[in-house]
């Protein structure tokens, strides 16, 4: 058994594949590829796949992390080229290596929200959005396991930058807490909606850009 951590992207139409369906998609893809991976024990054994941080439905990512154990003696480095032909459009392994740290050490996520304004006046809102994310406290109401709860984004969101992409698009990029508390890219939009409704865009697109450990090293 060889431990293996794969970094993969999930972009385009594939962003609508749910977390559970993505697990199944990988299971089928591994079987197609002929790469033998460890199966779960029990009555219905199936390929064992572990994903670090489930991605929200509709969010794209270029930094997903997947752990498996390979039965055959093969180098992790060649895994992406062996697996990629068997994956659906939009899902692509970028690299694979021996994991150097535990999944639990994943701490921060850099992500972006692209806000679309159909009136073509995206640039005019830049300053106000910057001001919003610079506030000392930025409370949002968020669904938790125990119903609705409050979360202050200010201590959990940093390195915010706001970029004018086009007349209609503003892109907010930020470093957010990945766990305890979990801040999703969509929470950045919640902050806008709930604290500055006049800035609410007509549509928003989300993307995960990088994942880091506690020392801000890209998570490998």
């Amino acid at each position: 058994m060889t431990k293996c951590r794969i970094r993969f992207e999930k972009t385009g139409r594939a962003k609508y594949i749910s977390h559970l369906d993505l697990m199944r998609t990988f299971q089928h893809a591994f079987i197609r590829s002929g790469i033998k991976i460890k199966h779960t024990e029990g009555f219905n054994p199936h390929p064992y796949i572990s994903m670090a941080l489930p991605l929200q439905l509709g969010c794209e990512s270029v930094c997903e992390v997947l752990d498996i154990q390979i039965e055959d003696d093969m180098s992790q480095r060649t895994l992406p080229e062996k697996l990629n032909p068997w994956l659906p459009e939009g899902i692509r392994a970028i690299s694979a290596a021996l994991p150097i740290n535990k999944v639990g050490l994943l701490k921060y996520v850099r992500c972006s929200v692209t806000m679309v304004y159909d009136d073509g006046k995206a640039a005019e809102r830049k300053a106000a959005i910057e001001e919003l994310f610079a506030r000392e406290s930025l409370i949002i109401m968020k669904k938790t396991k125990r119903g609705m709860g409050e979360l202050d984004l200010a201590p959990n969101v940093s390195e915010v930058s706001v970029e004018v992409i086009s007349d209609t698009e503003l892109k907010v990029t930020a470093l957010v807490s990945a766990v305890e508390p979990t801040v999703n890219p969509s929470n950045l939009l919640d902050a806008v909606k709930q604290n500055a409704p006049e800035l609410e865009p007509d549509f928003a697109k989300y993307m995960r850009l990088e994942v880091y450990d506690g020392n801000m090293k890209p998570f490998m």
Binding site: Y16, I17, D21, Q27, R32, P88
Partner: protein, 626 residues
């Protein structure tokens, strides 16, 4: 492996996605509406001259589970210059968003609007999905009626089991393919290509199409009615034949089978590899339309099946393979087939499932085979409770057969058994209903006597459906029980159940009644379907969208008596709406079988004695079950 064109993906992303992307976050299970699955076929639009929209009038999850759809997708895409794409009926939330935003129905592969396709082909296997056809045409932005679509393009047609009586949807489709579509769909596509190139009018094309065997053009048949509402005459026009005979594929070993097919990225109903063993059935159960319309029996060789099964599993990555046919235990080389597949499957932890086993020859050996990897519940379909009733329907299964099979199952460690029955069969009495409860009780006693593992307890489930007389079966002349009668019988059976270990569930008779109306109906139902669609939309096969009120109001509004179709016994000489269509089985044979049923007389299965039904004439060499 597949023609893959990055540019078209970009087209999709930047042209359609802009609008579709905004509604997808608002709907349930958006992966159903995006395409992009592993194995989908992309082609360069500049290199194709026929765009084919293969439409399934139900959800993605149901449609992608349909083997026929996958076969036709492969056959059509194997044609040069043809790009066949998939279209399913969106769930209500998606349809509402699409209508609100003015997004027309689009094909999953290219994202292009269906209305811009050359050919729109519907696969129709269930009468309740007729409203889905209207829903999809409406979402596409096309006129519902064939007569209102004046141009050749887009050509709208339908195929599938329901087309043995296409009359209820006759006014909506340009033509119907009767029988198996592998060759006929390709011939229609070729003829269309020629017509388009030469600039034919739609009537010119339809007249030519009617000359192809198996093609039924409803507009070329004039229906006239008697005062009592029955059909007086059906007159063909132009080059249309008096009777359209169905198409069959003679050699299934040589015919296309999808071993390299789409693997959905979201869970579908039958999320596994499906292997088709044979078409047709030797049994001749008199209620069963499929048993008659798929004749003659054509089986695939064991070697072909093992090869195709393994190939399909390798290419899909599925961990389950299911053997499909009308009666799997009647496949002559079943043991060899299971052995051949299991040899490959077992070391790879792939499981094999065998639906459609008959209660009479269910063997311990076979059971042990399917049990090797995984064990699921067992389902038997005695169809009727009393021996007399089983003889009437020619089920050819005895109580002893059923109990022996159950004993084998219980001894083998099974503890969950489902028993399927039908209610409202011709000549049925209350004794026949009570016999269902008696039989279930005997199954329970068999468990008590023979179960090897009683600690787990037993679960026996009895389900009853409401009998729907179907065209082209010996019971095509029968009247369906009234809804009140079904309710009474359901209550009677419920009261007759003798143990808490037996649970009873039944189908809603309202749906079965509408099903009968649509199965036995004629073209006068067109305005009814339009009214129902206006009132309650598509997806009528789904309980949450089926509206009894909508149907009743629609019948009322259009002056149509639904009982005329469903609850009236038809005479021997009555012209039935599907009289212009032949499945190869002689009407005299069907009538003879009906007469025998009245005498509770069984007909031996085709293997014991050929009943001379006429279907073997469909094969060039007169072959059947060789």
């Amino acid at each position: 492996m597949y023609a893959f064109c990055v540019q078209y993906i970009y087209d999709w992303r930047y042209r359609m996605e802009q609008r579709i992307e905004r509604i997808l976050p608002k709907v349930q299970k958006p992966a159903r509406y995006t395409g992009g699955e592993y194995g989908e076929i992309m082609k360069n639009k500049d290199e194709v001259d026929v765009r084919f929209a293969l439409c399934f009038p139900d959800t993605y999850e149901i449609g992608m589970s349909n083997l026929g759809l996958r076969i036709l997708y492969g056959v059509l895409n194997n044609m040069d210059g043809v790009w066949c794409e998939r279209v399913f009926e969106p769930w209500r939330d998606m349809a509402e968003e699409m209508r609100k935003e003015g997004i027309p129905l689009y094909a999953l592969e290219s994202g292009d609007p269906v209305k811009d396709f050359d050919i729109i082909g519907f696969s129709v296997g269930y009468e309740m999905s007729y409203l889905g056809i209207l829903d999809m045409l409406d979402l596409a932005g096309l006129p519902l009626r064939s007569a209102d679509r004046k141009e050749l393009t887009p050509l709208v047609f339908a195929g599938g089991t329901c087309m043995y009586n296409p009359e209820p949807i006759a006014d909506f489709i340009d033509l119907a393919v009767i029988g198996e579509g592998e060759e006929a769909d390709a011939e229609i596509t070729e003829l269309y290509r020629k017509a388009k190139k030469e600039g034919w009018s739609k009537p010119q094309f339809l007249n030519e199409a009617a000359k192809i065997q198996g093609i039924y053009v409803p507009s070329l048949y004039q229906h006239e009615y008697n005062e009592d509402g029955t059909i007086k005459s059906i007159t063909p026009k132009g080059d249309a034949p008096a009777v359209v005979t169905k198409r069959i594929i003679e050699n299934l070993d040589e015919s296309y089978f999808p071993t390299n097919t789409i693997v959905p990225s979201t869970e579908i109903v039958h999320d596994r590899t499906v292997l088709e063993l044979f078409r047709g059935c030797v049994r001749g159960c008199r209620f069963c339309q499929a048993g008659y319309v798929y004749r003659p029996i054509r089986r695939k060789k064991c070697d072909t099946l093992v090869k195709q099964g393994i190939e399909a599993l390798k290419n899909s990555g599925y961990e389950e393979i299911s053997l499909s046919s009308l009666s799997t235990s009647d496949y002559k080389e079943l043991t060899g087939l299971c052995d051949g597949l299991l040899e490959w499957c077992e070391p790879r932890k792939v499981s094999l499932s065998l639906p459609s086993l008959r209660a009479d020859n269910f063997s311990m050996e076979l059971m042990k085979k399917v049990q090797k990897v995984r064990k699921s519940g067992l389902t038997f379909a005695p169809e009727a409770g009393s021996q007399r009733m089983r003889d009437v329907i020619n089920k050819n299964v005895t109580e002893e057969d059923i109990l022996n099979s159950c004993r084998t199952a219980f001894e083998g460690g099974w503890s969950t058994v489902k028993l399927y029955f039908m209610m409202g069969l011709p000549t049925e009495t209350d004794e026949d209903i009570i016999a269902i409860a008696d039989l279930a009780f005997k199954v329970l006693n068999t468990w008590k006597k023979y179960a090897t593992n009683k600690a787990r307890g037993v679960k026996i489930t009895v389900s009853t459906s409401c009998f729907v007389p179907k065209p082209m079966s010996p019971f095509q002349w029968e009247a369906q029980d009234s809804m009140e009668e079904f309710l009474r019988k359901q209550q009677l059976l419920k009261d007759s159940m003798r143990s808490k270990a037996i649970s009873y569930s039944w189908h809603d008779s309202t749906v079965s009644f509408i099903e009968a109306v649509l199965a036995l109906g004629d073209r006068r139902l067109a305005p009814v379907l339009e009214s129902v669609f206006k009132r309650s939309g598509g997806l009528a096969a789904w309980e949450e969208f089926f509206s009894e009120d909508a149907w009743n109001e629609a019948f009322e509004e259009n002056g149509v008596d639904p009982h005329f179709y469903a609850n009236r016994e038809k005479g021997r000489d009555e012209i039935l709406p599907w009289s212009t269509i032949s499945a190869g089985v002689k009407t005299e044979h069907l009538w003879e079988e009906r007469e025998r049923s009245r005498r509770a007389e069984i007909t031996p299965d085709c293997r014991n004695q050929c009943a001379n039904c006429g279907a073997r004439k469909l094969s060039k060499e007169g072959r059947c079950d060789d």
